[in-house]
Amino acid sequence: MLVGAFALAHTPQLIARPDTEDRDLVLRVHAAFARVKARLAALRPDALAVIAGDHIEAFFLDAVPALAVYVGRECAGTFGPYEYRFPIHESLARAVVEQGIERGFDLLYTQDRRLDYAFFVPLHFTMPEPAPPIVPLHVNVYLPPQPTPRRCYEWGRALGEILGSRPERVALIASGGMSHYPGTDRYASPDFDWDRRVLETLQAGRGSDLAAVTGEELDKTGNIELRTWITLLGAVGDRPADVYCYEPSWHHGNAVVEWRV
């Protein structure tokens, strides 16, 4: 069963804390993460299903899946000086792949790919104790053509039904966002206005509106990663979002959001 749903920023500067950052802003995001960690502990999840967009780490141009599921015993990765490793909830991950394919989603699965920092950063801050195993769910966001927002929403709806039919208590986490443009001229000017309109839509309980956004609009507004949120929205449906924080830094719109399920 689905017991919780969260969207969490994975901005690397939140963990790396270089001197380019506004210390107070970073600490406010950390405080919102701490609230999520306490919520997750109270929800007593048996597993965390984490939807994240690989930053061309596990999947390079030799093979680019739109959607993928990690189904190994464990998964691991590195990011700069950080090394991380998580056990995978193997039976749940396998159920997601098998039932996802039954439902018409041609999922790639892997038992041996590296795990991107997009999975690690939110878990670093919010993993409850005792730490449950995870199910990493990849959505292609950086290598066009990416799955459409509509397809992400439909996959999320199927994912929600699959998780909802399981005996385990599962918390769903979408990692990423909001507006940012790494590697481009717009890196220092994210589209905060667009972010705020999205958050208003989510607070009003109209998450399904995002299924109609186009891939072009996501690219234009620096929100290619919002595909992970849109996937989650398919699973939680039109419930009002509780925005723990929205902190616009010089390069990222950092958001921490919960949907009560």
Partner: protein, 90 residues
């Protein structure tokens, strides 16, 4: 996706260039070999003279115009500069 998108389809002609940037980002051994002898590392990675010049000039716009993925250019550059001392100021 339009041609003025921030992230465009990576052309096949730039595959080796992107593979080199990917290795700089994600393969510590390649990064070390690049730092020791960039020309040799890039030659072994299959990059031609023009691509090697673009890489050595670290000209982002020229690399992207040649088909490099902007995120890979960004992270390869960052990883080459990144060390522990650049972390955790607060």
């Amino acid at each position: 996706m339009s041609e003025d998108a921030h992230y465009r389809f990576p052309p096949a002609a730039a595959y080796r260039l992107n593979r080199c940037l990917f290795a700089l980002k994600s393969d510590a051994a390649f990064r070390q070999s690049f730092q020791q002898d960039a020309a040799r590392a890039m030659t072994e990675a299959g990059l031609g003279d023009h691509e090697q010049k673009l890489m050595l000039a670290r000209d982002r716009d020229a690399l992207v115009a040649a088909g490099a993925h902007p995120y890979l250019v960004f992270m390869a550059e960052l990883r080459l500069r990144m060390d522990r001392s650049a972390f955790e100021y607060f």
